[in-house]
Symmetry: C2
DNA sequence: GCCTGAAATGCAAGTTTGTTTCGTGGAAAG
DNA sequence: CTTTCCACGAAACAAACTTGCATTTCAGGC
């Protein structure tokens, strides 16, 4: 499943570089170099190393959902009936496959899954619940939270 | 606060470009051009336009938290006592200010806020709860969900 | 204390990519 | 039918990335 990635040690240079790339990965290497006191090639080699090691999982553009006609963000807590490994894996696969599901976590606590969903209209969400939850025999119950304000959104890791 | 951004219309070219950039914004413009049947300069102009319009909110590297010593992801549902505008804004500001708080949403439903938190250890989380929740008079109660598996994580918007 | 080797660095050259310029063509308005 | 306005593509240009190489640094062994 997940690729076997070598464990690598990160020094303070790497962390400083990551910190910059997390905010803006279009920053020229030369600029990064000046900020961390390293030459551009050194920065480039470190970035490549971290990408290969999986420290940098992806480089992507963050799209504002509201600007592309998907203004509704919804959280869902899902509780399942049976927690056998097969059924859990099946649920993971099904939730992951839905493009509207932006994030899916398998969690401990009063729920089993937490989903973050992005849709254009509540009707779309309703249709999705039929497909994902009512159409799934293993879903015991789910609770919906509609986001009124995306106060802080990102995948930034504290460094 | 948020900049006044012009509303812009997106055609199928723009959407196709966004779809690619959401997966990998290091894709050369020439390559994108071939994929969508447009020249590199045309792609470049469209990207710039979407960045200025806020459709593309950011370009950033996604860091794997586990690889940088922050293996624990936690969801928290926070319920507040008083929902006056001032107190809500104060809570938003306080939650946003914490670097461990990756995401913060103000929601309807049985909770008022949902937070996504990334920490290195449970002790760190415990310390954070003292600071953010027990140290805040307006927090009535909070519920914690610890992620066992980050099944699907991203900010990809369905297009 | 000195030597050695692995690893990382900086510089400079070469290559790819991003950016600007400019002339053209097509669609909407007059 | 003509004009205007955009957006486009081709090519020239500038900037950034990438590679090769000699040098430095540092840890471990002699």
């Amino acid at each position: 499943m997940a690729k076997t990635r070598p464990e690598i040690a990160l020094d303070s240079f790497d962390l400083a570089i990551l910190k910059i790339l997390q905010k803006d990965n279009a920053t020229p290497q030369r600029t990064i170099g000046e900020a961390v006191n390293l030459s551009a090639p050194a920065v480039q080699r470190r970035i490549k190393r971290m990408e290969e090691a999986g420290v940098i999982a992806a480089n992507c553009a963050i799209v504002d959902p509201a600007r592309v006609g998907q203004p509704i963000t919804i959280f869902v807590e899902v509780e399942v009936i049976s927690e056998t490994a097969e059924l859990i894996d099946a649920a993971k696969a099904e939730f992951s496959a839905a493009p509207e599901v932006q994030q899916c976590y398998y969690v401990t606590g009063e729920a089993d899954f937490i989903l973050v969903i992005v849709v254009a209209t509540m009707a779309d969400y309703e249709a999705l619940t039929r497909r994902l939850f009512f159409g799934n025999n293993n879903v015991k119950r789910f609770r919906t939270f509609v986001a009124m304000d995306r106060v802080k959104v990102g995948l930034t890791v504290p460094l």
